[in-house]
C-alpha cells in the first residue's frame, strides 16, 4: 500500500540560456478546469472544523531532511514549501512542477547553472516568525546534504556540485555549487547539465526551513516539531499514534501569490495512524475518517456502496506516477541480444494487460503502452511499436531463427500478489504462443532486490518504478546504461539512447527537450528490453462532508483547500 519513492541517478550534458518563467496557473495543485466539480463542490468555502486524515504508518520523518515515504510526505506537504510545487494540469491527469516560492528561475545555456529569485514576504511559522531569505535555502540544502545528518534522500540533490558521487552526501562542510547572490537570490551550479532540474525542487529535501532554529532546539526536538513556511503547523506528534496539525495563524500568503498555497480553511488536521488498511476502511465507513485507502478486493464493492451512490462518499482511483513492468535481462543468453528480439517483441504483443488491469487489479490500474506513465509531462500515447494483438504474436515469434529456450525464467518478489500478475501474463503468452514455456519463481522481497541489483536473474524480472518528481527523465533514465544497472535491472545499454538522453538533459526548451526524450523512448521500446504492464491508480474513498479534495499523481492532497460543508 505504502509507496517507497524511487530515484534516479544523474548523468550529463548540453546547453542554452533561457528563462524558465513561472507558468502561472491556479494555486499550487490544480488549475481550475481540473477541479473535480460535482461531489466536492458545495457552495462557498468556509473556515473551521477538523479534517480527519489517516496515515498508514508512523512516518519515518516529516521534516525536509528525511521525508521519504508517502505517509511522511502527506504531513510534510502541509507544513513545508520549496521553490517549486506540483500542479494537476487542465487535462486532469498530467501533474507538473510549477514555481512555488521561486519568483524567477534563470538557467545558463548548457543547463548547468540555475539562478533562483525567491518571493519576498515569505515567513517562517512561529516561533521563528521571520522572513525567508536566499541564505535560508542555501543553509537548508547544506544541512540536508551533510553526512552527519544522515538523510536518506540526498540522491534528489545529487546533481548539485559538491555532492560526492559515491556517498551521495556533501564533500565539504558546504556544497560548493550553492552561492547566495543577494537577500532573495541564490545560484545553483550543477555537476552536469540537467535542464529539468527545477522539477526536482518539488521534493521535501529541497524545502526551506530555519536551520538556525533547528540547531538551537536540537535535532530531536526539531524532528518532533519541525517549523516550515506552510499553511499548517505541527501541534503534536504522538509517536505511532497520531499527528495533529493546526492552522498557521500568521501564514504569509494572505492574498494570492502565484501558485503558493493559500491559508487553510479547516482549523486542524487530525492524522491518526492506521497501520492496518482494513481497519482504516472500517473507521472511514463509521465516519471517524474523512479519507481512506481501500483494502485489496474492496474497490468495486465500495463504488457500489449505497453511500457512494447517494453522494455521501466519493470512491475513485487516481492515476499515479508508477509503472509496473517486466525487465528483460538483456546481458543474459535466454532473452538478451539482437537475436532474441523477436521473442521479446512477441512477449510485448501477447502481453494481456487488460486482463491484469481488469481482473487481477479490480480495474484499478491502467494498461501501459510505454515505460512512461500517463501522468508525466511528455507522455505521448501509442508509443509502443508492439501493441497488443495476440494473433500477431506467433507470426512475430516465427521470425526467430534460433532454438527457443526450453523455459523462460520469470522472477518476482513474493508476497505482494505479483504471482497472480505473472500467472495472468504467462497464461496469455502460452495461449498465443504454445511453444513457449515459463518458470515462475518468487523470491523474498529484500533478497529479491539485492539479487536483481547483482544481475543474478536471467529471463524476465518483475520491476516497478515510481517517479520522485514530475519529469520524463525519471523513466528514460531507467534504460540508459547507468539506469539499466541501478534502476531497471535490465542491464540494457544502447549508446544511441544514452546520447539522446544526454542531449535532452542539456536542452533548455521544454518542447524540444521532451521531443528528445520521446525519441529515446521510441528506441528503447523498439529494442524491447522490457514489457510495460500498467500504471497503478490509487483507490481512495473520501467523505463528501469535506469539499475541495484533489489528489495529484504523487498522492499529494492540498489540505489547505479543504473545507467542511
Amino acid at each position: 500500500m505504502k509507496k517507497p519513492m524511487r530515484s534516479w541517478r544523474g548523468l550529463l550534458i548540453v546547453a542554452a540560456v533561457l528563462i524558465v518563467a513561472a507558468m502561472l496557473l491556479g494555486a499550487c495543485g490544480s488549475d481550475d478546469a481540473s477541479t473535480d466539480a460535482s461531489p466536492t463542490a458545495g457552495g462557498e468555502p468556509k473556515a473551521g472544523g477538523v479534517y480527519n486524515f489517516p496515515l498508514g504508518a508512523e512516518p519515518i520523518s516529516i521534516e525536509p531532511l528525511n521525508t521519504q515515504e508517502s505517509e511522511g510526505w502527506h504531513v510534510n506537504h502541509q507544513i513545508f514549501q520549496s521553490l517549486y510545487c506540483l500542479q494537476i494540469q487542465s487535462d486532469g491527469t498530467t501533474t507538473k512542477a510549477v514555481p512555488d516560492l521561486a519568483e524567477k528561475t534563470e538557467v545558463n545555456a548548457d543547463a548547468t547553472v540555475f539562478t533562483f529569485t525567491i518571493k519576498q514576504g515569505v515567513m517562517f511559522q512561529a516561533p521563528v516568525s521571520r522572513e525567508v531569505t536566499a541564505q535560508d535555502f542555501v543553509d537548508s540544502w547544506n544541512y540536508n546534504a551533510d553526512p552527519k545528518n544522515k538523510s536518506a534522500t540526498t540522491y534528489i540533490i545529487a546533481p548539485i556540485k559538491g555532492i560526492d558521487a559515491d556517498t551521495g552526501y556533501s564533500e565539504g562542510p558546504q556544497l560548493s555549487g550553492l552561492k547566495v547572490i543577494d537577500k532573495y537570490t541564490f545560484e545553483v551550479t550543477l555537476q552536469y547539465p540537467f535542464a529539468d532540474f527545477p522539477a526536482t525542487l518539488v521534493h521535501p529535501i529541497t524545502q526551506v526551513f530555519p536551520v538556525d532554529y533547528a540547531k538551537e532546539i536540537g535535532r530531536k526536538a526539531f524532528f518532533d516539531k519541525p517549523v516550515g513556511t506552510g499553511p499548517y503547523m505541527v501541534d503534536t506528534w504522538k509517536h505511532n499514534q497520531s499527528i495533529t496539525l493546526v492552522k498557521n495563524p500568521d501564514y504569509w500568503n494572505t492574498g494570492d501569490s502565484g501558485n503558493s498555497a493559500t491559508a487553510g480553511y479547516v482549523d486542524s488536521i487530525s492524522m491518526p495512524i492506521y497501520t492496518d488498511v482494513s481497519t482504516e476502511w472500517l473507521a472511514f465507513q463509521k465516519g471517524t475518517l474523512d479519507y481512506s485507502s481501500l483494502p485489496t478486493g474492496n474497490f468495486k464493492a465500495a463504488q457500489n456502496d449505497p453511500k457512494t451512490q447517494d453522494g455521501t462518499w466519493t470512491v475513485k482511483a487516481y492515476p499515479s506516477t508508477s509503472v509496473y513492468f517486466i525487465s528483460v535481462a538483456m546481458n543474459k543468453p535466454t532473452l538478451g541480444g539482437d537475436e532474441n528480439l523477436p521473442i521479446r517483441a512477441a512477449l510485448n504483443i501477447a502481453a494481456d494487460r487488460e486482463v491484469v488491469s481488469n481482473i487481477v487489479n479490480e480495474g484499478i490500474s491502467i494498461p501501459s503502452d510505454s515505460i512512461v506513465p500517463v501522468t508525466i509531462p511528455g507522455y505521448v500515447a501509442g508509443t509502443n511499436p508492439y501493441p497488443y494483438d495476440p494473433a500477431k504474436a506467433q507470426p512475430k515469434l516465427d521470425e526467430f531463427t534460433g532454438t527457443l529456450p526450453s523455459e523462460i525464467p520469470y522472477w518476482f518478489n513474493s508476497g505482494s500478489g505479483h504471482d497472480k500478475i505473472a500467472q495472468a501474463l504467462v497464461d496469455g503468452w502460452t495461449k498465443a504462443m504454445p511453444s513457449l514455456k515459463f518458470k515462475l519463481s518468487g523470491v523474498e522481497t529484500n533478497s529479491y532486490w539485492t539479487q536483481a541489483g547483482e544481475n543474478k536473474f536471467d529471463g524476465l524480472v518483475r520491476m516497478g518504478w515510481i517517479a520522485d518528481y514530475p519529469s520524463i527523465d525519471n523513466f528514460i533514465y531507467l534504460f540508459t546504461t547507468s539506469g539499466g544497472k541501478y534502476g531497471s535491472y535490465s542491464f540494457y545499454s544502447n549508446p544511441e539512447v544514452d546520447k539522446l538522453f544526454e542531449q535532452a538533459r542539456a536542452t533548455v526548451d521544454e518542447t524540444e527537450r521532451n521531443g528528445l526524450y520521446n525519441q529515446a523512448e521510441k528506441l528503447i521500446l523498439t529494442d524491447a528490453p522490457c514489457v510495460p504492464v500498467y500504471t497503478y491508480r490509487d483507490a481512495r474513498a473520501t467523505n463528501n462532508r469535506v469539499a475541495g479534495f484533489t489528489y495529484n499523481a504523487f498522492g499529494q492532497i492540498n489540505m489547505w483547500d479543504l473545507w467542511v460543508k
Binding site: S7, P147, H239, N240, T279, L282, N446
Partner: protein, 318 residues
C-alpha cells in the same frame, strides 16, 4: 522465598541476553540487507557500501552483537535505523499501551475460570455443551478475523464502540476517559475472549478431574455442603494447573498482541515489532523482543509466586 526470587531474576538476565543473541542471529540469517533499503533501491554499490559502513552494518556479527550488549548494559537500546529515534524511548512510549491491553485481556481471560467451573459442575448439561462448543469455536478463530469481525459488528454496524486507536490514561495504563475505556474494550475482548475459551476449557477439564478425586469424596463424606466441597476443596486444586497454563499463555498473549495491536491500530510493543520486522530495523526488533521477553519472564515469575502461594508443595519444598 527471597532467594527464589533473586535466582529467578538472575535467570531473567541470562534469558534476556539469550534473546538478544537469538534476535541478532536470526536477523543475520534471514536474507536481505538493511543497507540496501536505507540507501534506496537504485543506489549504486558505492552508496550502499557507504551506508553499510556508516551504520556499522559491515562489522562482523559478533562485533555488532558485543557492541549492542555493551550499550545494553548501560541501558542504551540503540536507535532506529530509519528515524534515528532512541529505541528506549520508543519502548517507553509503546510499553504502557501493551501492558494496558495485556492486563485487560488477562482480567477477561480469568472469567474463563468460573465459566469452566460452572461448565464442569453441569457436565453434559445444555449449558456445559453450549459453553464447551463456544470455547472450541472461539479457540479456533484467528485473532485478526475475530478482531475485524468485532470491529465490523460493534464498531460499524451497531456503532457502539470506536474502531481502533487508544485514548488518554492515568499512570500510563488506566484509561482516564470514557472514550479511552471504549477504545480498550474491543481489543481486550478479542484477545481475552480467545483466552477465556482456552482457560475455561482447561478449567473445566481440571475441575472434572479434581471432582473425581478421592479427597473430594472425603470432603463429601465429612458432610460438607456441595458449595464447600467445590470451592473449599475442589477449586483450589483445580485452579493450580490452569494457573500454569495461564502463565505460559502470557507468551501467547504477547504474540497475539502483535496481531491485535496491528488490527486495532494500537501503538504498542506488538506494532513496534511488526514495523521493525517490516523495515528490518534490528535495534527496534531487538528492543521490542527484549521487552516482550522481560514481560513474559516477569509475568511467569508472578504466576510462579502465585502458584507457590496456592500450592504448599511448591512453597515449602523449595
Amino acid at each position: 522465598m527471597i532467594a527464589y526470587i533473586i535466582r529467578r531474576l538472575l535467570q531473567l538476565v541470562i534469558v534476556l541476553f539469550g534473546v538478544t543473541l537469538i534476535t541478532f542471529g536470526m536477523l543475520k540469517l534471514v536474507p536481505g540487507d538493511p543497507a540496501v533499503a536505507l540507501a534506496g533501491k537504485n543506489a549504486t554499490p558505492e552508496k550502499i557500501a557507504f551506508v553499510r559502513h556508516e551504520r556499522g552494518l559491515d562489522r562482523p556479527f559478533y562485533v555488532q552483537y558485543i557492541r549492542y550488549v555493551e550499550r545494553l548494559v548501560h541501558g542504551d537500546l540503540g536507535e532506529s535505523l530509519y528515524t534515528a529515534r532512541p529505541v528506549a524511548e520508543m519502548i517507553r512510549e509503546a510499553a504502557p499501551v501493551t501492558i494496558q491491553l495485556a492486563v485487560a485481556a488477562v482480567l477477561i481471560e480469568l472469567l474463563g475460570i468460573p465459566l469452566g467451573v460452572f461448565s464442569a459442575l453441569r457436565q453434559y448439561s445444555f449449558w456445559d455443551t453450549t459453553l464447551t462448543t463456544a470455547a472450541l469455536i472461539l479457540w479456533g478463530i484467528p485473532v485478526f478475523v475475530l478482531g475485524y469481525f468485532a470491529m465490523y459488528i460493534f464498531g460499524l454496524k451497531l456503532d457502539w464502540l470506536p474502531i481502533g486507536g487508544v485514548g488518554p490514561t492515568v499512570l500510563g495504563i488506566i484509561p482516564s476517559t470514557w472514550e479511552s475505556w471504549q477504545t480498550l474494550i474491543l481489543p481486550a475482548l478479542t484477545l481475552g475472549v480467545i483466552e477465556i475459551a482456552y482457560i475455561s476449557y482447561m478449567q473445566r477439564a481440571s475441575m472434572l478431574e479434581v471432582s473425581r478425586s478421592d479427597f473430594i469424596r472425603t470432603a463429601r463424606a465429612k458432610g460438607l455442603t456441595e458449595r464447600k466441597v467445590i470451592w473449599g476443596h475442589g477449586f483450589k486444586n483445580a485452579v493450580i494447573p490452569v494457573m500454569t497454563i495461564a502463565g505460559i499463555d502470557l507468551g501467547a498473549l504477547i504474540g497475539g498482541a502483535i496481531i491485535t495491536e496491528t488490527v486495532f491500530n494500537r501503538p504498542g510493543i506488538g506494532l513496534l515489532i511488526y514495523q521493525g520486522i517490516n523495515q528490518r530495523d534490528v535495534a527496534v526488533i531487538a528492543g521490542g523482543v527484549l521487552f516482550a521477553t522481560f514481560f513474559f519472564v516477569f509475568a511467569n515469575l508472578l504466576v510462579d509466586l502465585g502458584y507457590a502461594w496456592v500450592d504448599p508443595r511448591v512453597r515449602l519444598e523449595d
